[in-house]
C-alpha cells in the first residue's frame, strides 16, 4: 500500500510484532519492568475492542487481583492466563531460559536476580512470548548455564504451556518442536547479521520476510490511545518513547530492561 518510508521507533515496531503474536485470546498478563510487552498488550486490547483482558502486574489500575501475590500463579494454574512474557540472562536454542547465573551454579561468574515465576509459568501458560531486546551471542547461547525453565518437556510431564516465539531488537523467531525458526527480520537488519549475533542454531526458510512496519493506524493507536494508559505504569518510558508525561505519585523512574544489564 504505502512504499514510502515511515517514521517509527523500534519500541513501536516491537510492540506491533508482539501484539500480533498475542492474537485472539482472553487474558494477557504482563510482569514487572516490561514496558514494551505492556504496550503490546494494551495495543492488542484496543484492536480487540476490549478483548483480551490485560493485567499489568505492576499497575494498580490494570490489575484486578485481590487475593494477594499468589493469585497470578493460581490464575495461571486454572488456565485463565493465555499469554505471558519471559526474558532471560541467557536463552538457548532449545528454548531454555536462564534467570539465575552463568558459570558453575555453586561458584557463579555472573548472578542474575533469580527465576521469578518462570519455572512454573513457562509450563502452564499456553503462549509464552520470550522477549530480549539485546540480541547477541552473550544472551542467545547454544546452551544455558542454568535452566530456570526448560523450553520443552518430555511427554509424561504435564505441560499445557510453553514458548511460541522470541522477539529481539533484530528479529522475530517462532518456536515449535523444540527449535527456533527465523520468522522475520526487522527493518534495517539482515539475516546475515542475525546469524552473526545468534549463539544458537536455528531454522530459516529460503527467503526470510521483513517484519512489517507498523501501519499508520497502529502508530496512531499507539501514540494517541495506548501511550496515555501506559503512562500510569511506565511514566518514564511513555515520556521517552511517546512524549507523554503524566505525573504519577506512586511510581519511580523506569529504565527498560535494566535488570538484565551485566
Amino acid at each position: 500500500m504505502n512504499a514510502a518510508p515511515r517514521e517509527f521507533r523500534s519500541e513501536e515496531l516491537l510492540a506491533d510484532v508482539i501484539a500480533r503474536l498475542i492474537g485472539d485470546v482472553r487474558h494477557v498478563a504482563v510482569g514487572n519492568a516490561s514496558p514494551i510487552p505492556a504496550t503490546a498488550a494494551l495495543l492488542a486490547r484496543e484492536r480487540g475492542h476490549g478483548r483480551p483482558y490485560v493485567s499489568l502486574l505492576q499497575s494498580r489500575k490494570h490489575n484486578f487481583f485481590t487475593d494477594g501475590a499468589r493469585e497470578l500463579f493460581d490464575c495461571a494454574g486454572q488456565g485463565r492466563i493465555d499469554v505471558f512474557f519471559l526474558s532471560g540472562g541467557q536463552i538457548d536454542g532449545q528454548g531454555n531460559v536462564n534467570l539465575v547465573s552463568t558459570g558453575d551454579y555453586a561458584h557463579p561468574k555472573v548472578r542474575f536476580p533469580g527465576s521469578f515465576g518462570s519455572a512454573y509459568l513457562y509450563y502452564v501458560v499456553p503462549k509464552v512470548i520470550l522477549f530480549r531486546v539485546e540480541h547477541s551471542r552473550r544472551t542467545l547461547v547454544p546452551q544455558v548455564d542454568f535452566i530456570s525453565a526448560p523450553g520443552t518437556s518430555s511427554p509424561e510431564v504435564y505441560r499445557p504451556g510453553g514458548p511460541i516465539a522470541l522477539v529481539t531488537n533484530r528479529c522475530l523467531f517462532s518456536f515449535a518442536a523444540g527449535r527456533f525458526t527465523l520468522a522475520s527480520v526487522h527493518p534495517g537488519h539482515t539475516v546475515a547479521e542475525v546469524i552473526e549475533h545468534t549463539g544458537f542454531e536455528f531454522e530459516r526458510p529460503e527467503t526470510v520476510p521483513e517484519t512489517p512496519a507498523p501501519s499508520p493506524k497502529t502508530l496512531k493507536l499507539l501514540r494517541e490511545t495506548v501511550a496515555p494508559q501506559l503512562a500510569e505504569v511506565y511514566p518514564q518510558f511513555a515520556a521517552q518513547v511517546f512524549g507523554i508525561s503524566v505525573p504519577s505519585p506512586e511510581r519511580g523512574r523506569v529504565r527498560v530492561g535494566v535488570a538484565w544489564r551485566y
Binding site: P108, S115, G117, Y120, E156, Y158, A259
Partner: protein
C-alpha cells in the same frame, strides 16, 4: 487479648539470631524501618525467606551481614538495576542460596498455613531450580495419568515480619488486598508488624474493614512506624522514593559505598 502495641525495638525482640524469618515482596508493604532497626541491633544468621521476591530489604540485610541462608525467587532493585550486595554475596559464596520459583514459595507457606507437611506444584520438572533443591521431592501423581509432580515441604517460619497501613488496639491489622501477608502470619509461629497508624475502634467491627483485616490472634507485637516502608512504597499510600533507590544502587555498588550508606541511613537513624 490485649493490644500488643510496643516500641519498634521491643516489637522486634522476637526476631532472634538464627531465626527463620519470612518477609513480603517489594511491593506489598515492606517493613523497612524494622529492617534498619534489626541491622542496628546486629541480628545474625537469619534464614530469610522472601515471599516470593525481594529488593532493597534483602540486599540491605545481606550486605549488613545478617543473613546466613536466603530462600527466594529473585532479588533485584527492579528499575534500579541488580541488587548489588545480593549479587556480591552470591558470587563470593558469603550466603547460602536456596533458589526457588514464586508459586513454590507461596505453596510452601500455604502448606504451613494448612498444617500439611507438603504441597504439590506443577511446573519445575526438568529445571535446574528443582535439580538443586534436594529438599523438594518428585512423585508420580496417584491420580489421572500418574504423571510426575513436585512436592514442596511446608515452610513454617519462626516469625513473619510485615508492614501495613493500620492496626487497632486489639492487635488486628488491616492488610487490604495484600493477602499474602495473612498467609505469612498464618504460616508463621508468630507475626510481628509495623503499621503507619493506629485505627480507633476495632477493625473487626466494621464488615468492610474486616474483609481486609488480619485478626490480632495471629499477631504477637506491633509498633507504629510512620512511612515504615520508606524508601519502598506502600500500596495506595505512597510510592517508592526513586531518588533514594538510585542513590542506594550507586552507593551499594561497592562494599565501601554500602558501608557509608549504612552509616548514613541506618546507624545514624537519619531517615528511620
Amino acid at each position: 487479648m490485649s493490644a500488643p502495641l510496643q516500641s519498634l525495638d521491643d516489637a522486634l525482640t522476637l526476631i532472634t539470631d538464627g531465626c527463620l524469618l519470612v518477609v513480603p515482596r517489594e511491593v506489598s508493604g515492606v517493613p523497612m524501618a524494622a529492617t534498619r532497626a534489626l541491622i542496628r541491633r546486629g541480628v545474625k544468621r537469619l534464614h530469610l525467606v522472601a515471599l516470593p521476591t525481594s529488593s532493597l530489604q534483602a540486599d540491605l540485610l545481606i550486605g549488613a551481614g545478617c543473613v546466613e541462608t536466603l530462600e527466594t525467587s529473585a532479588v533485584s532493585l527492579g528499575e534500579f538495576g541488580p541488587a548489588p550486595r545480593f549479587t556480591a554475596a552470591i558470587t563470593s559464596g558469603a550466603i547460602k542460596m536456596k533458589d526457588a520459583t514464586c508459586p513454590a514459595l507461596h505453596a510452601a507457606l500455604q502448606a504451613a498455613e494448612k498444617g500439611v507437611p507438603f504441597m504439590p506444584l506443577r511446573g519445575l520438572i526438568g529445571s535446574d531450580v528443582l535439580a538443586y533443591r534436594d529438599d523438594w521431592k518428585v512423585i508420580d501423581s496417584p491420580f489421572g495419568n500418574s504423571d510426575p509432580i513436585v512436592l514442596l515441604p511446608a515452610i513454617r517460619p519462626d516469625v513473619a515480619l510485615i508492614h501495613a497501613p493500620m492496626a487497632d488496639r486489639f492487635g488486628n491489622i488491616w492488610i487490604g488486598r495484600q493477602r499474602e501477608l495473612a498467609t505469612m502470619a498464618h504460616a508463621a509461629v508468630r507475626a510481628v508488624a509495623t503499621v503507619e497508624k493506629i485505627h480507633d475502634g476495632n477493625l473487626l467491627d466494621d464488615p468492610v474493614l474486616a474483609a481486609g483485616t488480619l485478626p490480632g490472634f495471629y499477631v504477637e507485637s506491633i509498633a507504629v512506624a510512620e512511612r515504615g516502608a520508606w524508601p519502598l512504597g506502600l500500596p495506595d499510600h505512597y510510592g517508592v522514593d526513586a531518588e533514594h533507590l538510585a542513590e542506594y544502587a550507586r552507593m551499594a555498588a561497592t562494599a565501601e559505598g554500602f558501608a557509608e550508606y549504612l552509616e548514613r541511613y541506618v546507624y545514624e537513624r537519619r531517615a528511620a
